[in-house]
Symmetry: C5
Subunit: 230 residues, 5 copies
């Protein structure tokens, strides 16, 4: 199945007042949220991440991919039924699609790569300067080759590029599977010296997301472990 | 009737606390909101869209058009009577008017095109750089012709341009009837290489809106289907 | 009385929770607010406007003018006593003064023109680029004459310029009496081509305000008409 | 005592919900706040100002000065005990220090000038462009002399400059004792034409603060006068 | 142990409503928060600071360092269990890592320096302009040497640089141990004249943090001293 996929990143921020609810209520809120995610994950790609301790403006991220947009819409409708969404805001949201790249040779760029079990996913939206798009194609190719050559020396990092032109505010959403954040930091710092870096307009916010099961990402919200009701 | 129309885009964001209300109360809140919209739609142009799953800063959009501003004002007064507006904020609002274009040959630019039953409406406010307005007219004409020539190759997309100079913050509100978001993404990415793109100052936020009846757009807010009371 | 006046534009945004109050409470809240405004209007200039349906970040605007600042302060102290201000925020606020212009020949620039019964008032704060102020005076005069010449062809529009240098964030607050928004839109679009436009730094937000009695502007907040208590 | 002083400007914004409290509770909240301020003022410099009617994003400002930072910290700890801070946010906060100026001859630049009983204090944070700091010293001296020469012609205005480099976001906090806002407006407008003005990066927000006793500034919050309990 | 450390700065802002809780409840909320911090501090680096009186957008900061990210995540999960986080928001958050510097000779750059018992910690995130990264290495070395030479004359200040490239929005988080804020102010002002300063893109917000035990920093939130329950 080599068609293009929609990719959605939904970041949630809990109202601190949610933590004032009774433990049983919070457990129920989390179970309902997890159930909707797990149903979706039976047929589609879904991963969960915790941002507790890495950022302050969001607590949890779910990442979805699907060849059609409707199932992603429907999952969010179901989440709106869950108790958790009575106390949560979507603080950041990125909609994108996969697309064949003219520059890189990412494997299977058109679908999400489910297998990478890295410990972190680092995600950010990106805009390039308009000057970039006015360069001749061979010039852009040369600049990107230089960029890719630097990146390739950092072998522990896998890139997932998706495209948002016209669908959402940003032009790209870039996501990196990372096991060692220090290696990623060194890569990004080294890339600052490449020519391609000068054509970046914006690339924040940068989210360091901790891979987790949806249950563990939910439990990090109030520090309590949910068990199935007896 | 070839007069100019006011066009209004009202984006709503529900307070998560609304979802804590009883199901019956929420159903009533939605019925009141829908009733006001449906009354307006009997005499004027009104369309509804859901943004659940595509963005995080708004949940629902209603799009209105009318030769006079008063009915649009009065609809919003009526909406303020509805239960839903006791729990909702207008997170984004764009006021514009239709106008004959000197560049394009959009059909019936002065009134909304009701018939297009596309699955998505993509909307964004736009500002051009001030340099644009200082170019000689023939130069602007040449640049726009190049832009339009690219756009025409993407046959599944219909453009609706409206003008906000002096009426609202932005200069234009651009809306596209789209069935295949991937086609629109490819168009926008290709347009980045045109000369006209260099004269764009801002064109965010970009809203991917899912066409829906007002009832369906409201039901997506809490995942529950409203039926007429017995 | 040809002295300079303070001019104040106070934009209110109601907390949606206000609409959850009982109808009688809301009526009382509105009566108290209107009473304070009407008292002020007996001796000073005060006009009210509704923004319901034209913007999302404010619902109501009151515009005051007075040779001294104290009465404007005291009116706002009285408004703070009213029930309405227990549920409202001042979302935008502009303080300015009238001043003789070196460029234009606005009639009676030093005091508010009470008589214009236009249907809309369009208001925005404005900053000019610092380069503007470094131009030789005759150069600025020439640029402004060109600007004014364009504006004069649009005869249905009356300009009210006030000055905020050092008193508030913006440099100017510009307000236009308008009966036909389309005419104003066309004027602003045409002015984009003038030299003066290139010296504008910012001129947003732009508020399309609907002229109303204070009572009607208040009634638009919840769609209910207040009558004097029996 | 010619040492340098810390200067602190704390702007408060009341939650509109505070005005829903009973009159007695509000009176008590205000008395506790005033008591903490008056205790501090016995040994240190403290002034209060009302912004009711001049801005929308703050209601009250207290201005403190002290050779050490600890008493300012301790005053804010005491304010946190007061009922008022259970309903108030610090919407703007500026920390600065006095310092001898190389350009001006402000009297006693190292300590606050308590005596000026002007009716208004106009305050704003300021940043200069980095180019300014790369100019040769004699060049900066020349530019500043020109600036000061203009300012001196406006004799009703007294300048208080304080420095925030490295202590807070802004570089300077500038405060002006003003009796006639129109005179200050004219001064700021005229300064736009000086060379020094071109080196200003930002100088907003601009706060027109009305001098008041702490009791009067507090009474402006709800329009009710507090008297000592019987 | 010369490995690199993760460094985290978590700034908290209390909801004013927290101060409406009963004294005993607040004491319990603070004890739970302190207990989690003190447990972490037994094995890892943790310092607490008060911002009461120096800023308005945060009240308290905790600074952590650890060779692995997981314990920092787990501490924040535990904090989410505490009563205080039911009423607090993380208003600012900075994630970074230590790294050997090519320019400076900071002692032990790879681990936090626990011993410095200075009275203040001044912290800010920093971004350099992209032009900086395109300079030849010897040029950057020369510019930084000049910068460091100025800084060395201010002997009371110790610098702690950490790196955030790709992990968080900013490129660097810079923290200074300071006993005399006036000395730091003079240093920063003098650095404005160096060449390196021209390559700074952003360096705000700037936080003046008052060193305190976690208990004292918590007590500053409501002005009440917590004692262990009898």
């Amino acid at each position: 199945m080599a068609g293009r996929h929609f990719v959605k990143f939904t970041f949630l921020k809990l109202d601190p007042a949610w933590r004032r609810r009774l433990g049983d209520e919070r457990a129920q809120d989390k179970r309902e949220f997890a159930a909707a995610c797990n149903d979706f994950a039976e047929e589609h790609f879904l991963r969960a991440y915790s941002l507790v301790g890495t950022r302050g403006d969001c607590d949890l991220m779910i990442r979805m991919a699907c060849p059609r947009l409707e199932p992603i819409h429907e999952l969010h409708v179901l989440l709106n039924q869950s108790g958790l969404m009575r106390w949560a805001d979507i603080s950041h949201s990125y909609l994108a699609m996969t697309k064949e790249s003219v520059y890189s040779d990412e494997p299977t760029p058109l679908e999400p790569r489910p297998g990478s079990d890295s410990k972190y996913l680092i995600v950010y939206p990106m805009w390039k300067k308009r000057e970039w798009y006015r360069l001749p194609e061979e010039e852009r190719m040369r600049v990107m080759r230089d960029h890719i050559a630097v990146a390739r020396r950092f072998t522990g990092i896998e890139t997932n590029t998706s495209y948002s032109f016209g669908l959402d505010d940003q032009e790209f959403v870039v996501a990196f599977d990372v096991d060692d954040p220090a290696e990623f930091l060194d890569l990004v710092q080294e890339l600052r010296g490449t020519e391609s870096s000068a054509y970046t307009e914006f690339e924040t916010p940068i989210f360091t997301c901790i891979s987790a099961s949806i249950e563990r990402a939910l439990d990090a919200l109030d520090g309590e472990v949910v068990r199935a009701p007896a």
